[in-house]
Amino acid sequence: MVVGDVTTGTDVLVIGAGPAGYVAAIRAGQLDLDVTLVERDAYGGTCLNHGCIPSKALISATNVAHEASHAEEMGIHANPAIDLSGMMNWKDGVVDQLTGGVEKLCKANQVNLLEGTARFDGENTVRVSHDGEGQGSETLEFEDAIIATGSRPIEIPGFEYGDEPVLDSRQALALESVPESLVIVGAGYIGMELAGVFAKLGTDVTVLEMLEDALPGYDDDLSRPVRKRAESLGVDFEFGYTAAEWHDIEDGDGIRVVADPVAEPATDGGELETADAESLELDAEKVLVAVGRKPVSDTLDLEAAGIETDERGFIPTDDRARTNREHVFAVGDVAGEPMLAHKGSMEGQVAAEVIAGEPSAIDYQAMPAAVFTEPEIGTVGLTEDEASEQGFEPLVGEFPLRASGRALTMNESDGFVRIVADEEAGFILGAQIVAPEASELIAELGLAIELGATLEDIARTVHTHPTLSESVMEAAENALGQAIHTLNR
């Protein structure tokens, strides 16, 4: 041990104060465990500071302006001016309020907070180094540790994030002026959410995507309304291209992004054929790279504690959130897909409870997910195809939003609710929603799946009129062949 070093101890050490880590720490505190939460940057992690919250704040704000300026049909004529620095200040205020709240909640639940970067130093110790000159470091002993170090954006060759015109999502969410034009690399949910924000701010947006559609993780009929809406906002899509390089435009402002066509297997099943399309050149003020995230596990000296990672850097865990070492847990993005805040929070709770000796487990039947585009997407559980693959006979019901009274009164009629059930007993297996408020509507179906509810259960539950949630009921009725407001298939 280094001379002058202080060693302190804690029963439970949590590394990282994102939605996985701070939730684990609070629950541990509630269960009367002696818990220390180490965070090197900001309480709330990626989600509150640079992810979920700032993105949703900007989405809401730009929606308010955009809706008003596109409501002539409803008799409203407006030409809103957006003051980006005002909008960013407001967003920063929202973030501060929530991260301040996290800090307070931790303290109120007797969580010891420690600022610094933790690295394993042995089976039961970490070294926590403090930023800034002369801040030094300390050694902390623990009985159990919960790793919640999250993820960072993936870089692509030639597009290093340090370079000024190349942005990651964090930087894009904190711009000081509206770029005139923006190339977004990646049409995943982060890329699509931000494409909407910037298009509504007035930026000329082009989205480059390697695969053949926007939101490639989702079925065609879910992503189509989102892509179409983005197109109607003026977003251009270039599918089947990868970003190869960028350079400053000679004799001009801005940059030129060069994109190469993706080599595809020949459709005749023959050998790989380099697509004969030519490279694209896209001029823009900035380029945002949003091609995915990878776990933060390489900076932890995991070997010192004997903790294993998989080939992608994720820390494998069992259904108690345990790593290969009995006394070390991993939760959140660092513990694997889906990299979603609520998945991390749930795992954090389980880890804390397991350490406290409770009979908790990661035993969810279905993990919801949402995309906060226009319209929103909400999904939970199995798609029809997945249900078939798992050996169910799927029974599917749908309800189109254009038949929903509530949707029409919102002047929003794109989208649908789809419910997938098992034919035999009618158990709800999954749901896919594209609709305004899909992120909220999916909650009822998540509960239905967890409870083992059937189509009949949903169909016979009275739903308030006029609401979008009636569409959930109608989709269940449609599966049963007795929908009122749509023809039954």
Binding site: P359, S360, A361, D363, Q390, G391, F392, E393, D422, E424, A425, G426, F427, E450, L451, G452, T454, E456, D457
Partner: protein
């Protein structure tokens, strides 16, 4: 085609509270035939399975437990 379609393996239909009780009691939900709608497993099903198991596991205890 004549084969009965069973619920695919590994999938049980039981609410979170029932799954927790099953863990507490050490009962394997896949071994239980649910009595709820559609075969949904209820709290009672799990407790019954737990009782049955402890009954057969500890016959002596049972005889001493009924004093007459």
């Amino acid at each position: 085609d004549i084969e009965e379609i069973a619920t695919p393996e590994g999938r049980v239909f039981a609410p979170p509270r029932v799954r927790r009780i099953a863990r507490e009691e050490g009962v394997d939900l896949e071994s239980i035939q649910g009595s709820g709608p559609g075969g949904r497993i209820t709290d009672g099903d799990v407790r019954a399975a737990a009782d049955e198991r402890s009954d057969s596991d500890t016959p002596d205890e049972r005889s001493t437990a009924s004093p007459d």
